[in-house]
Subunit: 253 residues, 2 copies
């Protein structure tokens, strides 16, 4: 089976021109078909601030009312996505920016309100793997903004989840490597030492000793869920070159 | 040769949800391959106002400094484009939103500053007809934001010009009908009566009698230039159904 690299890059890298530039240089070096998924939450918070729209976060998730959704579409789907596409084309990468509505790539449902009404927030239900494969096979590099589509409206959606859903949906057509790239070296233990590999057993031990906590838990949960759905390997860290032995790895083997 | 409809829809229609909805209903009814190009200047001006960015226009053209370019990318490339794509997908149209950088579709050069420095404003130099044809032939409906690409950065570009350049670039592969859709009935004479057809000769007479003036002149000039470059017919008006006998027409025949 052919290899496919799916890279998710976080807001702190994306929103600093120097770190974004060096990330995109490395991304362009990745061989074979590839997909980029980006965040951009800081851009959204900054624009909310300039427009006087209150930013409401619960457990790291953005409460998305109508005005905040518009900001998310303008920043994630507009400024961040379009500028990344331009920067990749500048490097000779045939990039195409996508929201979940384009080609109906990422169908979602609006999250049902239980205790917390998250507003216009989507949970992914279906990935249009045919459309994405057609792009990949014609040499196009899709660049996804963290916006899904419920058939009527765009919905704000966690970029880690979009990357995981894309990886799982494409795992029966490609040997998928999923990489979560962010500003830290990787998953660190409570002494700040990089953990090089995590298995389901070692993960349980790390969680019970509180060595891993906070926002890292959903990220690693996502990683194991992807492995359970056929994704070949998941990396969490700063580097993105596949052969780099210093990349920490999360796998089920 | 197969027919292709290229429709440009102006800001006043786009920025009113009711008029946009009825326009998109009609657009969805247009048979065969088609392309939509949209404006969005009012959204940009409104966002500039909310952000305290001064709006500078010279002869109906927007002076685009760095901050204004970002607003253009957020509104044209973000809010307006992504919402139109979502609304078309909702109608069952397989839409894909594009800036000039996506698939390197629309290459431009930054307008050289003579008397007036327009800033980040692009003049189209090359359309990637191969990429656009591939989309059309696979049943995709491209939706273009008025943003071109100079190889490094996105540039603010007049939507009428983008529509005209797309039409000319595709005229040797399709029988292209180009339609400028806006809120008025069409080209009106000085008594406000709709002009049903304009030829090069009648256009000269209309201009010399000042029956046609202002922003309509570049639009009609664009129309005749397109006809000179192989486009089959150009319509300017409110309606967009090809067979509608009430559509005013600008053609060279």
């Amino acid at each position: 089976m052919r290899k496919l690299s799916i890279l998710k890059v976080g807001g702190a890298i994306v929103e600093n021109p120097a770190s974004l530039g060096s990330f995109l240089d490395s991304f362009h070096e990745v061989e074979g078909p590839k997909i980029l998924v980006h965040g951009g939450g800081r851009s959204a918070s900054e624009l909310c601030g300039r427009l006087g729209i209150p930013v409401k976060m619960v457990d790291g998730r953005r409460i998305t009312d109508k005005a905040t959704l518009e900001v998310a579409i303008m920043t994630y789907g507009g400024l961040v996505n379009r500028n990344i596409v331009a920067a990749l084309q500048h490097r000779g990468e045939n990039a195409l920016g996508l929201s979940g509505a384009d080609l109906a790539c990422i169908k979602a449902v609006k999250r049902a309100s239980a205790q917390i009404d998250y507003g216009y927030v989507g949970d992914v239900r279906e990935v249009n793997a045919d459309a994405i494969c057609r792009l990949l096979e014609s040499g196009v590099t899709p660049v996804f903004a963290p916006l899904s589509f419920d058939g009527t409206t765009l919905l704000n959606t966690n970029a880690d989840s979009i990357a995981a859903e894309l990886a799982a949906a494409l795992a029966d057509r490609y040997e998928v490597s999923l990489r979560y790239c962010f500003e830290k070296e990787g998953v660190l233990d409570k002494d700040g030492v990089l953990i090089r590999s995590i298995t389901p057993d070692s993960y349980l031990a790390l969680k019970s000793s509180a060595a891993v906590s906070g926002g890292m838990i959903p990220k690693i949960d996502n990683a194991f869920a992807s492995l359970g759905r056929g994704v070949r390997e998941v990396f969490i860290g700063k580097t993105l070159v596949q052969a780099d032995a210093s990349s920490p790895r999360t796998d089920g083997r």
